[in-house]
Amino acid sequence: MGSENDAGTGPTGLHPQQSSVAGTGPTGLHPQQSPRVQAGATEPVIRTENLVRIYKMGEVEVRALDGVSLTVSPGEFVAVMGSSGSGKSTFMNIVGCLDRPTSGTYFLDGVDVSRLDRDERAEIRNRKIGFVFQSFNLLARTSALENAELPLIYAGNGHGAGNREEKARQCLAIVGLAGREHHLPSQLSGGQQQRVAIARALINDPKLMLADEPTGNLDSKTSEEVMSVFQKLNDEGKTIVLITHEHDIAEHAKRIVTFLDGRVVEDRPHDQLRVEV
């Protein structure tokens, strides 16, 4: 688990702007983006306070996250950047409720989720978070439709089979896969598979979409395709946090947060690079 943290100590992946915020420490917030301004109207989707995550590797303690405070408001499209070992994956695991911080607090949609147990986190993931992974993580030998409706099975709010299928069809249509409902992942291209994964992430209408290197396994043209889907969803109001180490992918976001050695070293708004495919 800690291996990714070993590489981050070098000067790789430093941003030129790093110095401008280096002194601000854990609270690397930009005043013009401060969610507290909007907090009266709507709860921020993500609010972390001084998140610390320590992995114990035998005797050695690795501080994968070293005091991260970050706020993401509804409707934002944030790219989290950083080299491997910068702590961005650890951050994404905690934000995605797959892991818990060693210390610090994490409010998701206004609720403190940093101390929830496994099953409670599973429920939060199911209801509030839509994951998109680098390796698609679709179930093999399972149709696009069945893959997309999978989260509904565990939702436990009485979705009948017909209802589930209807919703899955809608989500597949949103990502442009209408007509391919019964294709198996092996019969779909990488970009199409990733769009099935996006449809799956959408199906429970999550507060937060969390994409971990979603274009890492795709060529540049397909990457653009997938990014345009994310932009479209963001235009429709979805809050998206995108983890990536590729600058040209991060360019598609409206805000770029850079991690280094477990800290936020830069947090700036960004003029979204629009792609229409």
């Binding site: 688990m1 695991n93 995605g96 797959l98 892991d99 496994r118 099953d119 599973a122 429920e123 993931r125 199911n126 209801r127 994951f131 992974f133 993580n137 679709l138 179930l139 093999a140 030998r141 999978l150 989260p151 099975i153 565990y154 939702a155 436990g156 009485g158 979705h159 009948g160 089979a161 799956r200 429970n204």
Partner: protein, 405 residues
Amino acid sequence: MLKFLTILKVGLKAIARNKMRSALTALGIIIGVACVIAMVGVGKGSQAAIQSQINALGTNFLMVFPGVATQSGARIFTGESTLTEDDVAAVKAESPSVAYVSPMSRTGGQVVYGNSNWGTQVQGVGVEWPFIRSWNTSQGSFFGDNEVRSASKVVVLGSTVADALFGDQSPIGATVRIKNFPFRVIGVLETKGGSTMGQDQDDTVVAPYTTVMRLLKGRNRIDMFMASAVSPDAVLQAQTEIESLLRQRHRLAPGQDADFMIRSQQEIAQTANETSRTLSILLASAASISLLVGGIGIMNIMLVSVTERTHEIGIRMAIGAKGRDILTQFLVEALTLSIAGGLIGIVLGVGASRLLAWKAKWNIALPPESILLAFGFSAAIGVFFGFYPARKASRLDPIEALRYE
């Protein structure tokens, strides 16, 4: 509930996906359950057969054997039986719980008729013997007091002997020779079949005990005697009465070893039952071991399945499957394998039992509770051996599981 049904479907799909593997896994249970049913059937069947034979024999009779005569603590083997005709008469006259008595004197011998001869057991008995053994004649009649008193050379044939010597002819009135003495056949006994110990009970001839004792054996003392109690409940009472009467007649001091032994049919039945019960347990446990091995097979395959599908488990967990959802999914898989195996095993087990009953002419019992038990046992094995792999799956860390390829 809806969620459970959906997860159930997920578990079933996994089985359908690996048909060959699922079939082989279930095979372990199939063989186990079939074995249990067939073996319990054989055990129960033999037990029932023994029970019915014992019941046919009559449960309320006692056998009194002579023992060793002892004098002043020294055991003296006299070669003579310690029981006499007078003892028997006294038991009949003085024990209120005793209904019938029959002195017994036995010898072996060839029964010769014309050119045929047949080696068999010659039993000398009293007139009340048919009542004790509840064994009547199918042809002719039994001898009476006169024949016993006069030690007449009359004989009643067991059906096996009658068939062997006379075939289809009626033996009544014919003369057979036993140890060179001519005996007149006056009756044939009903067919009784095999005994508890597997001997042919019909392979015997019955004559007055006086004739066998004096003429054939040249003795004055009986070998043993039989007595029946007035009712099955009075067997113990009858035993006590006979014991005290004989001790008194043989002038045995209190505490001195008796010079006779009393065996009740109930004791014999008990021993036989014990033996067949041991056999049943032995068979059933051998079969249970194969069921256990089948269960371990399920556990093994489920562990493989969990490892193989770690990534899938990670995906399911990431999108919101709780520990118990994963647990349910894998338990359903294990349970389905074991229950399906159990059902097929029941069919095979019943089939095998029928085949044994038909081909090997074995007495086989198929009590519905043993079928239910086998089924319940196979389901329990599914839960028991499926639980550990399922729990292992449900406890996986989603981050680790997602990284697993």
